[in-house]
Symmetry: C2
Subunit: 207 residues, 2 copies
Amino acid sequence: MTTSPVDVPTTDSPARARILDVAASLFLEQGYEAASLRRIADEVGIQAASIYHHFTSKEDLLEAILRRGMAVMDEAFTAAEATTTGAGESQADRRSRLAAHVRAHLAALYENGPFTAAHVTTFRTAPAVVRDAIVPVRDAYEARWTDLLNDLTAADVPTGPARLMLLGGMNASVEWFDPTRGSLDDLAEVVTRQFWSGLTGHPDPTP
Amino acid sequence: MTTSPVDVPTTDSPARARILDVAASLFLEQGYEAASLRRIADEVGIQAASIYHHFTSKEDLLEAILRRGMAVMDEAFTAAEATTTGAGESQADRRSRLAAHVRAHLAALYENGPFTAAHVTTFRTAPAVVRDAIVPVRDAYEARWTDLLNDLTAADVPTGPARLMLLGGMNASVEWFDPTRGSLDDLAEVVTRQFWSGLTGHPDPTP
DNA sequence: GTCTATACCACGATAGAC
DNA sequence: GTCTATCGTGGTATAGAC
């Protein structure tokens, strides 16, 4: 069951959208500080000064990218929820619910532009103003995962550390996973298998 | 069984050592590009120009830090091997071998200065010259993990993706784990439990 | 919405005295 | 081993024409 890429609604002008795209790519590749506005503008095919027609500052540009990355993740999570509503309560049913959400998070990382991946790699060292503005949005997304994991496991299993390891492990895959060479479905399956038994304490039902 | 912090032998002068310490902290906290030599020098209590008596360039300084970070990891892995030589072949014995190495890697991240953590967070976006110089050292460390995991699991279990998830998951903990608030032993136990059953397909023997 | 021109500053790095 | 002084470059950002 392969979910399709999500569509995040946007009212961006074509010019603004193009800047966001290029900037996210470069922030992901080189980091926020190393990627200069001149270089971004160059790759877009405009002058650096023109960026200020669309964004008030470089920090403002970064914030827009981080927000968009979170929007993609959130949209993917919602889509995964939709495909698993009314799922049963058997261990196999629970496992496929987890699998669907894992697949959705990874798809957000690799199938909807560089926004989500750029978010993951640049957030920690982003300027404090930007980080503070984004923290609430991140917290809301993490809370959805907390609810999901609590729902999937017995009431007495502490899901806090497991959630952090799961999200951290998936996000860390941006360091080595190449979506043009590896299969996203395979990666999702590996992640799910790796975490399912550790989470529930039961052997994995899948061969 | 708590392993003690490792000692990486060094011939550094006190002045050089102090610069390395401060620079690693700032690279970790703000990223390589964002941390300026002036700021580093300021925190050390010297002038920026004085750094060039000890390092030929900012890139040279980064490379020394990344190398030191790898040395700490490697030393920790070796120490873990030493404590588990002659271990048995039972599932419980294998599990504690994994646990010892997990504990060692996490200790390297949190108990021996900011070098290992700085390595983990700055490597991906480091200047190409620096990255290329460090890649062989990283590969050697990852190969040690590959050998270990192959040794711990059945011959037909593919350990490649599991190794990447395990190391990625542990390294990603620098984003949320605070060693002054949480227990390193607890974290190591969580990581081990989370991965052991997923790796072997057998239920975790620990309550 | 993009341009040219430019201000202003902080950066990495070098020279040479002590 | 550290200092002062300084160079050249490239960074973000602004002003104002088109």
